[in-house]
């Protein structure tokens, strides 16, 4: 990307080598401060995300956060409110063609009214669970719209930390959703399902076949959806937004809606009843 230069990173050593392989080692240096940085990309999904974001905002720079931990949702929301537009949540699924393609297809109602949505993202602890959980909720909102109520069970599977979240949601338009985020599987494993069923057809993607399938009146159409990397599309969108070139394709209201759903889900996870989102 010509308009963006990576000037420094605060990465774990094992991740730095991966970034160097992609970006070129000349761009990757350990950064001890935010000096010379316009935009910080905070990919820490564990507790501490909010603190890092606040520090960067206090240093006067802009921040993209990939996901606060569940315990930080309220603080993150407040930070977002107070950030004067300098803090944005990553929303990576909204820049991922696997997700945007079925969203476009379902938005124009060619397949009728959406009736069920299933989003599953299961992998290993190489992924940040908090980020995965937010990605699942974000996708559920993308396809089904406003949520009326949510019921969630979160637990720790083969780990001391919460790493599994199963949610059933009811949309305001009556459609039903299921979301599953899990990082308890073995390393190297990632299973992803996107399924939007409508009155006159459905859209599905799974990570085994790696294709989007549109099932309508004319049978099954298979669409290759790999054109751009989601992170690149997101960074382009956000940089343009920060520069004032154009408004981001992800309005702040969607971020607030996502955080509200995540907070309602968290509340329902210790409740015997669904919680209004």
């Amino acid at each position: 990307m010509n308009s963006v230069r990576l000037v420094g990173d605060v990465l774990l050593e094992d991740r730095r080598s991966a970034y160097q392989a992609v970006l070129g080692s000349e761009y990757v240096t350990a950064a001890a401060s935010f000096h010379g940085v316009d935009l910080a990309d905070v990919a820490n999904g564990h507790a501490g995300c909010v603190e890092i974001c606040r520090e960067a905002l206090d240093a006067g720079i802009r921040v993209v956060a990939h996901g606060p931990s569940a315990g930080e949702l309220g603080d993150f929301k407040k930070l977002l409110d107070d950030s004067d537009g300098r803090l944005r949540l990553a929303h990576s699924v909204r820049f991922d063609n696997k997700y945007t393609l079925p969203h476009e297809e379902s938005s124009d109602r060619k397949l009728g009214d959406v009736i069920t949505v299933r989003v599953i993202r299961t992998g290993s602890d190489e992924r940040d669970f908090s980020v995965e959980e937010l990605n699942v909720f974000d996708a559920l909102l993308l396809f089904g719209g406003e949520v009326q109520r949510v019921f969630t069970r979160r637990n720790s599977v083969l780990s001391d930390d919460v790493n599994t979240s199963l949610s059933v949601i009811r949309y305001s338009n009556k459609a039903i959703g299921y979301g599953e985020a899990c990082t308890a599987y073995r390393r190297g494993y990632f299973y992803e399902v996107i399924e939007v069923a409508a009155t006159d057809g459905m859209l599905e993607y799974d990570s085994f076949s790696r294709t989007n399938r549109i099932i309508g009146d004319d049978g099954i159409e298979i669409v290759d959806s790999y054109h751009v990397t989601p992170l690149q599309a997101m960074v382009e969108d956000y940089v343009a937004h920060f520069r004032g070139d154009r408004v981001s394709s992800v309005p702040d209201a969607q971020t607030m809606e996502l955080l509200d759903l995540a907070m309602a889900s968290l509340a329902s996870s210790v409740s015997p009843a669904a919680v209004t989102a």
Partner: protein, 367 residues
């Protein structure tokens, strides 16, 4: 007795044809008579099964005699040359037909779900216990090749202790007839379709469902009178949380009728399969989930098992027949069906209340 003599009562549910195919083919079973009284179904039953030239008669082995037809099922039950019956009537009539069969001393294969309410389900199980006949709930999905392969691998300890379970049992938006009459069916997709996935998860884990949260509604075809989409979270004994999606939400143009898909995560690996997916199951075995195991190179990747494409009805009826002949319980019994109904009732209550509902335990000792 070295051969089980079967009667078939009612073809309301098309599964009866599958079972009759098994009755005709299996060497330890003979189909003696069939009973059907609904005019629209009588002709087909006669032409396919009773007529010597019937299409299904080609399946029969040489020992199979003529198949007698009865328009009154009581006449079939009064025959002394029948040991057991397969009943596939509309759900509402399961108690009536099972009670009559048990009182006539016939062992019973009963279509799922066992009943339209838990009281009927309890009575169905107990009337068979009292009569001393075996009752088997028709869950042939346990006998599908990938499910049997998964069970063998689980029992060998290949994935360790199960810690997470998920199942789907989708169907095209195709259900018709009495299934859409709430008086006859007792409900839609929750009544009809949570039982297979839930039963497989019970069977694989050896744990009962203790509570359920469910959402359900009529959305795919708003004009029908029963629910056609649903999503369930099921908490099993030991705190394992699983999911079950029974929705009749597939388009009519979908490549297959639906699925019965199961994903299991264990302490040492994972298994996933779909019985409609060319009978392929994938097993992630060995090494566990730990970073240490990964770094030690203990991960072996997928083991893909391709099973023979065999009819699960054959294996299901074979187990039932051998159980009767050997005087043992069938692999799927009435209590398994009772728990299916208990989960159905809990799910419907949860749909109304928007809260978790406890699943009761079977009140008797069970047999």
């Amino acid at each position: 007795m070295n051969r089980l003599r079967m009667g078939a009562i009612s073809f309301d549910h098309g599964h009866q044809y599958g079972w009759c195919g098994a009755h005709l083919q299996l060497p330890m079973v003979e189909l003696v008579a069939v009973a059907e009284w609904i005019p629209e179904q009588v002709d087909r039953v006669k032409s396919v099964l009773v007529s010597p030239e019937g299409a299904m008669r080609a399946l029969a082995d040489e020992r199979q005699g003529p198949v007698r037809f009865h328009e009154d099922y009581h006449e079939l039950l009064a025959r002394d040359d029948i040991d057991a019956v397969s009943i596939s009537s509309a759900n509402r009539y399961h108690l009536e037909h099972t009670e009559a069969a048990a009182n006539a001393g016939k062992h019973v294969i009963l279509e799922k779900p066992l009943a339209t309410n838990l009281d009927d389900a309890t009575e169905i199980v107990q009337v068979c216990e009292t009569a001393g006949v075996h009752l088997s709930t028709a869950y042939p999905t346990r006998f599908s090749p990938p499910a049997m392969e998964a069970k063998r691998r689980i029992d060998r300890g290949e994935i360790g202790e199960i810690v997470s379970m998920h199942a789907t049992n989708h169907l095209r938006q195709s259900t018709a007839g009495w299934f859409l009459d709430p008086e006859l069916s007792g409900g839609g997709t929750i009544r009809d379709h949570i039982v297979h996935g839930t039963d497989l998860m019970r069977w694989f884990s050896g744990k009962e469902v203790v509570e359920i949260y469910a959402e359900g509604d009529t959305l795919a075809r708003p004009e029908i009178e029963v629910d056609d989409v649903a999503m369930l979270l099921e908490t099993f004994e030991g705190g394992i949380v699983g999911s079950c999606d029974p929705s009749w939400n597939r388009p009519m143009t979908a490549a297959v009728w639906g699925d019965v898909m199961v994903r299991l995560l264990g302490t040492e690996g994972a298994i996933e399969f779909d019985i409609t997916g060319n009978y392929i199951s994938r097993t992630l075995a060995g090494g566990g989930q730990s970073a240490e195991a990964w770094e030690a190179g203990a991960i072996q990747g997928y083991i893909t098992h391709m099973s023979y494409q065999e009819d699960s009805n054959l294996w299901y009826v074979k187990d039932f027949a051998e159980a009767i002949l050997d005087d043992r319980k069938p692999l799927v019994d009435g209590i398994d069906g009772w728990y299916g109904v208990a989960c159905i009732e809990a799910a419907y209550e949860s749909v109304k209340e928007h809260r978790v509902v406890e699943v009761p335990r079977y009140p008797g000792n069970g047999a």
